[in-house]
């Protein structure tokens, strides 16, 4: 009932700008058919091959996260009709073991399970697919999730050999150019300097270690008890993993500046300014607002819209630059309306370039750090960003957030979320 609200409403009536029929005010409205998030969590994210999840299978991580969703939300597991898990490296798409994981987690056999693979955006795609299933009336309650065990499943077997036909088509053949090489080329072509990448990466480490020290990840991380083999003694023990072990304190642009480039002698990309190889799982419980109110679920936020775009395979890093404006177009938002952008830090070079090109201020991007600091378990990341975003928006008392990432073979995805 503030005068400013009244003035802006009047202003919109006169200018005809979409204050009521679109834009921020419209997005913030609550409707019974909104798709809302009533639980969002993730496991800790741990270093691939060396971290605390190195001996834990992807399905075990997923089972833990799914059980966490039941425990935290208190939902009757029999009400969940479909679970979609984004996972990239699992042989056979991971379909069998994810179905099994849902049973372990406590879901009855009436809950359907499927997996999908849209590379680095698999976790987001899973959430979006489930939201759309609910919106279309196919199901009432569903879970979008993502998982990756890069410790156990990362390797050259992840891509099938290209046929002669594919190799004969130049742009098609570009789809299998390794990420590191094409990002190196893109950084060079777009003039993203090593110094700016290192500074961006150092700030990701700084933000993440500060957030970790302040306990800002506590709400989103589900502690998980796993078996772990001590590499020194060779003995296997049970540990509880409740913090991201890739986050390092004291990383500076100078210390990163000393690391040798990984993909080219005169290159700019190295282990310190690219995303870490990691293990982790995340899950998001989705339903209509009317359902949530009927079930007495606590609403964390809502899903508004998502966009998917294609870009040249060699320029896969520019995905967010194209996907974010598209989701703005779908929602009538502008970048000023958005309080936090969670843009996956596949490489400092591409994340930085996209942010600069879109004119997004640094302080709005990944306020708790990103994949450079704590890792990028491929299929998990998109679902992980949802809990990272919603809890941070809530903590700051802010409302609108965007999650986005570039996708291998040249795609980009973005989604708009509102914290409530």
């Amino acid at each position: 009932m503030g005068a400013l609200d009244r003035l802006s409403a009047l202003g919109n009536q006169i200018s005809g700008s979409p204050g009521g029929a679109g834009g921020r005010a419209k997005i913030l409205e609550k409707h019974a058919d909104d798709i809302v998030v009533t639980a969002a969590l993730r496991t800790a994210i741990c270093r691939g091959g060396k971290g605390q999840f190195k001996d834990t299978a992807a399905a075990d991580l997923m089972a833990g996260a799914l059980k966490g969703i039941i425990d935290r939300s208190g939902i009757n597991p029999a009400l969940v009709e479909d679970i979609c898990v984004g996972t990239v490296l699992a042989p056979g798409g991971g379909a069998t073991e994810m179905r099994a994981a849902s049973l372990v987690a406590g879901f009855p056999d009436t809950a359907a399970v499927r997996t999908l693979n849209r590379q680095c955006s698999s976790g987001l795609q899973a959430c979006v697919d489930v939201a759309n299933q609910i919106r279309a009336g196919m199901i009432e309650v569903g879970i979008g999730a993502g998982v990756e065990s890069m410790s156990t499943q990362y390797g050259p077997q992840a891509v099938t050999e290209f046929s002669e036909l594919l190799e004969s088509h130049p742009e098609a053949a570009n789809c299998k150019v390794p990420m590191g090489k094409l990002s190196e080329d893109m950084a060079k072509a777009r003039g993203v300097t090593r110094a700016s990448q290192d500074a961006f990466a150092a700030s990701s480490f700084a933000k993440a270690s500060k957030a970790q020290a302040a306990g800002l990840f506590k709400d989103e991380i589900l502690p998980l008890k796993v078996k772990w083999e001590d590499p020194k003694s060779g003995e296997t023990k049970e540990i509880v993993v409740d913090r991201d072990d890739g986050v390092r304190e004291g990383v500076t642009a100078e210390s990163l500046g000393k690391i040798r480039a990984a993909f080219a002698k005169d290159g700019s990309i190295h282990a310190g300014n690219a995303s870490q190889v990691s293990d982790g799982a995340a899950a998001v419980l989705l339903m209509k607002r009317s359902t949530a109110e009927r079930l007495g679920q606590t609403i964390l936020g809502k899903f508004v819209a998502a966009s998917i775009v294609g870009v040249a395979p060699l320029l896969m890093g520019v995905g967010p630059w194209k996907a974010i404006p598209k989701v703005f177009e779908l929602t009538g938002l502008t970048k000023e309306d958005v309080d936090i952008f969670e843009i996956n830090e596949a490489f400092a070079s591409q994340c930085l370039w996209c942010a600069n090109e879109l004119g997004i201020p640094q302080e709005k991007i990944n306020p708790k750090g990103g994949a450079i600091a704590f890792g990028h378990p491929l299929g998990c990341t998109g679902a992980r960003q949802v809990s990272t975003l919603l809890y941070e928006l809530k903590r700051r008392g802010e409302k609108i957030g965007v999650t986005s990432m570039c996708v291998g073979t040249g795609m980009g995805m973005a989604a708009v979320w509102v914290a409530e």
């Binding site: 009536q13 979409p18 009521g20 029929a21 419209k26 609550k30």
Partner: protein
């Protein structure tokens, strides 16, 4: 335009004007200080006398007033829509304070409408995204209908006491029928997407409606003769009429002319095709929706095209946003009261516009 009566509301910017349904010489104006942004409201009850327009009664409120409705069962009573979320019932025989206060809305109440058929209840709509049904004798609402977004305008069907409609900022008119069981849809009977294209041929002919950019709807009203026809106006400046029996069939008529948002419109109580509209473009315009005109090029019966109606007259004496307009129910039929942010109430005969 010879005969025009004027009344000034110094310090208050009117938002709405309504003629009494009982007396041809009485009308009321809901006005707010500082353009309704911050400050008090004042309700003026005006009388027409040999000395011109005089104040019969005035009531002050703590927050802005955005609308009013005369009681249909007591000639001395009327309700006002207040910025603090309350609805107040004033009685002209009781000085200074309201006789009833209805406070359930969480935000500004933007419109009130009294049931013209059953006469024993009234509606309110609010920025809080709800419409509420009230009895004048009870402080708690009888019913709350969820809309989900700011609802600027609410109205009863003039012929059916159970049928009501709400126009909101999401470019939709929602029709509620209180005879429908209160299922998950809360009595919702139909939804008219005002700006949506009509993909299928409307009525019998080939016409389709291409649609328009969705915009907020600020006002709507039911035709007093064709009881299934509703007119709506809003931010895009166009007035559209719809047949509620064909909610997604597209508009019957699109009346274009206003250069800014249409803030208020009212169908004539005297003729089936006439309506009047007040706009932020400072004009008040009188229209025919074309329903009584032969349509050139159309088949027998004139069906199959969207009428563009015709503007019959334009009143441009207001010097600020024209915000309220109403027809007098009595007399030769054509007296209109209009109000605007220029702190003026103007009473004039629409016939003089038609001739001019």
């Amino acid at each position: 335009m010879a005969s025009m009566l004027e009344f000034r509301t110094p310090g208050f910017n009117p938002y709405a004007v309504k003629y009494s349904p009982y007396y041809d010489s009485r009308l009321a104006v809901a006005a707010s200080a500082n353009y309704g942004l911050v400050g008090n409201g004042r309700l003026f009850c005006l009388g027409l006398s040999a000395q011109g327009v005089v104040v019969e009664k005035a009531f002050d409120t703590n927050d802005a007033l955005y609308d009013l409705a005369w009681s249909e069962i007591n000639e001395n009573q009327l309700v006002v829509a207040t910025g603090d979320g309350s609805i107040k019932l004033f009685d002209l025989a009781v000085p200074d304070f309201p006789v009833m206060n209805f406070h359930e809305h969480n935000r500004e109440v933007f419109s009130v409408a009294w049931n013209p058929v059953s006469k024993d209840n009234f509606l309110s709509s609010s920025w809080d995204g709800t419409v509420k049904l009230w009895s004048p004798t009870r402080t708690a609402s009888l019913l709350t209908l969820p809309i989900g977004c700011c609802t600027y305008s609410v109205a009863f069907s003039p012929s059916n006491p159970s049928l009501l409609s709400a126009a909101s900022s999401d470019s939709h008119i929602r029709l509620f029928d209180l005879r429908i069981p209160p299922s998950a849809n809360y009595h919702l009977a139909a939804t008219i997407p005002v700006h949506a294209p009509a993909p299928h041929p409307t009525r019998l002919g080939q016409a389709t409606y291409a649609g328009a950019v969705p915009a907020e709807i600020l006002t709507h009203d039911w035709n007093k003769y064709a009881d299934t026809v509703v007119a709506a106006g809003g931010v895009d400046g166009a007035i559209r009429t719809f047949d509620v029996r064909s909610p997604v069939g597209g508009p019957l008529a699109v009346l274009a002319g206003h250069e800014y948002a249409v803030r208020r419109l009212a169908w004539s109580p005297h003729a089936r095709d006439i309506l009047v509209s007040a706009s932020y473009d400072m004009t008040v315009r009188v229209w025919t929706d074309g329903s009584t005109m032969p349509v050139p090029g159309a088949g027998p019966g004139g069906q199959g095209t969207i009428s563009t109606g015709a503007q019959l007259g334009l009143m441009n004496r207001h010097t600020e946003f024209a915000t309220g307009v109403d027809w007098c129910l009595f007399g030769a039929g054509g007296w209109v009261a209009s109000v605007g942010w220029d702190e003026r109430v103007l009473l004039w005969d629409a016939h003089t516009l038609l001739r001019g």
